[in-house]
Symmetry: C3
Subunit: 331 residues, 3 copies
Amino acid sequence: MRVATYASHSALQILKGAKGEGFETIAFGNPRVKPLYTRYFPVADYFIEGTYPEERLLELNAVVIPTGSFVAHLGIELVEKMRVPYYGNKEVLKWESDRNLERKWLERAKLRLPRVYDDPDEIDGSVIVKPFGAGGGKGYFLAKSPGDFWKKAERLGIRDKEDLGRVQIQEYVLGVPVYPHYFYSKLNRELELMSIDLRYESNADAIGRIPAKEQLDLEINTNYTVVGNIPLVLRESLLIDIIEAGERTVKAAEEIMGGLWGPFCLEGVFTEELEFVVFEISARIVAGTNPFVHGSPYSWLRYDEPVSTGRRIAMELKQGLEEDRLDEILT
Amino acid sequence: MRVATYASHSALQILKGAKGEGFETIAFGNPRVKPLYTRYFPVADYFIEGTYPEERLLELNAVVIPTGSFVAHLGIELVEKMRVPYYGNKEVLKWESDRNLERKWLERAKLRLPRVYDDPDEIDGSVIVKPFGAGGGKGYFLAKSPGDFWKKAERLGIRDKEDLGRVQIQEYVLGVPVYPHYFYSKLNRELELMSIDLRYESNADAIGRIPAKEQLDLEINTNYTVVGNIPLVLRESLLIDIIEAGERTVKAAEEIMGGLWGPFCLEGVFTEELEFVVFEISARIVAGTNPFVHGSPYSWLRYDEPVSTGRRIAMELKQGLEEDRLDEILT
Amino acid sequence: MRVATYASHSALQILKGAKGEGFETIAFGNPRVKPLYTRYFPVADYFIEGTYPEERLLELNAVVIPTGSFVAHLGIELVEKMRVPYYGNKEVLKWESDRNLERKWLERAKLRLPRVYDDPDEIDGSVIVKPFGAGGGKGYFLAKSPGDFWKKAERLGIRDKEDLGRVQIQEYVLGVPVYPHYFYSKLNRELELMSIDLRYESNADAIGRIPAKEQLDLEINTNYTVVGNIPLVLRESLLIDIIEAGERTVKAAEEIMGGLWGPFCLEGVFTEELEFVVFEISARIVAGTNPFVHGSPYSWLRYDEPVSTGRRIAMELKQGLEEDRLDEILT
């Protein structure tokens, strides 16, 4: 068995982790990045061109570790039909990609979610308005009342309630972003907190360095394109909240979609009242685990060797092999 | 001898460090967090319910490592009366908790402190006004002149000089927050710089990501509730200033309160002129050491193994045991 | 052979790395900092007073590792005349210190640079105006049109085109700062990505924590004095861009100045369109490598031991010694 992943996102960490557990490794993807995975960082034993070179992967006896990039490039439909073994539960894909199903899942897990307004005339606090399909925050705006909403929505051509299908109106929750990274071991039936990060976004993390006066002058708008990740630890008294939120998310997934296993991330903010408000779930490894190639403060607390999320996945595969239980974790 | 601490704040690191030095460990506190210290992160050999289960700790031959959470939950008076051995000098508690005594201590250490204004009519630059007893920055405001002060103070019901007892008026020092973590070994009579962090605060670290125009629109105010910590290294030419400040703080403590030993932190900002202005001292381990479970850039420079502040405490206890000098460091 | 460097900037890391590879080490500089390098962090076997104690360094058979502090304190002319062996290509110094030559170099490397405006009447977007010789951003201002430029320039006494020699007018590129640290091994003819950081600047990183309303009230201006560094990892799909930019920079240097080897850094920002716009090159070790004393996420991917940039330099020296090729890398 060889460990394979799409050559982007968190592939360096996944493949390094797999090598650390004794697996041979395969990166596949755009030939331009081949040197990254074979020369600059020699973590891939094989590099195969293509978004998903199925035949070659089958020949090499590969297991695919999915990442956000892999799913985005291949598309959910094709992922669901993959013949190469896939680490994780493919049922999760449709729950995660549909905004309504995702909300149903997270509500069942009793997470605190931002309120969604169907009717702008019910706005009774700050809201953030997100046009559907806009990437990286383009066209997002804040509003604080029904009147404010209608005035600003006009810029997007939204003039009456019939146009509302084009935007989502969400409670604006002020707080600092926090991304806890979990790993649920289906073999051991145990949840682990692997690490926590903070995203570094362009231009959202640039504007604060510009004085307010200059910002007003230059009429700067915000965008949230992720450029990198910064390591973070959480106030220790908040860890149990975060862990219990993770446990409930796994439990809800067991009830409605046959389980969630491997790495996942709850994406949210902590308010000044120290409440964790969740915006989204990523039901696989997130790039926020990349600062922790050599282990995180949390994984060092649990293990006496450097365990990244990538390596943790490989540990699970190795255990599956040794206990002859791979069929429980591959789909 | 067993190493014990209150189950919060930096207990994971303290107990992990103690285990690394061969001690058995005890966490005590709220039963809700028991799984955090025994299952998710198996660092506690014993978990005991209660804020301070004195009898059980005595039976188990425990030494308590104090943290901010422990002192806050138990209260200074009860800490002073503890029968279980305590790592550190309890005399420090009253110097640290009284704003006037703390200032006396830090002035004696020749630290640069923000000026305090007794009379708002003497305001000759930017000031920050802090209502006493307000947590997390609630009600804080900035003012730039006597007139500005009186206008804004009215919102808090402060109309004349008789009401001034309710607020502190402090020079507003503009600079970036820096938290150096020290360890003073009483056994070796040596100061060490363990690590440095940056706090991640809600909502202070959220507002910079909101464009000035939107901030004005939503009338956002700031709050400084600590949510987490981010690792930082300091410009190397500033290290000697930071270290000398730490040395003077220890020396002043020896002169006026019988010494300061173990971990402590000077909380301040660096101005654009690279001056370190100190706001406060924490005379024990701070949560800002939590990113460094597996050592910090500074502790790796000094040691050839991973030394967190928690582990450094355990190393001191071990040395005390081996040299039969525990009585010098426990009170 | 002993490894020597000026006692500031990144000397702790350089000397620690040299000791890790088995070298004896020398710090030289201001006697005030001697304890930093010999007692608090015992990384220097010798400490010599003086900005550049040539005779003593020759006697001790030293190789000097240059840093920004060393070059700034000694001055380029004296560095060029040094008799003590110097790691790196001294030819680089004049290309790097002259704004026009530096631009020629970086343009040849096909890096995306901010546009420079010779004529303010051609301003057709946001620009940043930098008075020559101003440190840390003093006097910098933003403008968005010719009219806006002339109005604001008047504060600096610039009233007509004859005064323009005193300022540089540069395209204002909005994006988040990113500092990738490279190492080019001349012995192996290989480029390596060592680590990436984010600078922590006073007061630029303080103002975002002040609400817009208060900023306007207090008339705060920005300054960019580096106080420290924060570890960062880059979005994995951007790594190949960064690496190719580094490769082209080395290639251009080989064509025009006889090469660039050892550590260097491209200082730039990532825009919201994920374009890397470069402002400057540092052709030697940068202080941004200091968070990675025990290795970075990138160096852990490549090596199975902790490799800082300082240690990587020592590894190159050791290889040069062993292969009798020191003359290729020392000048």
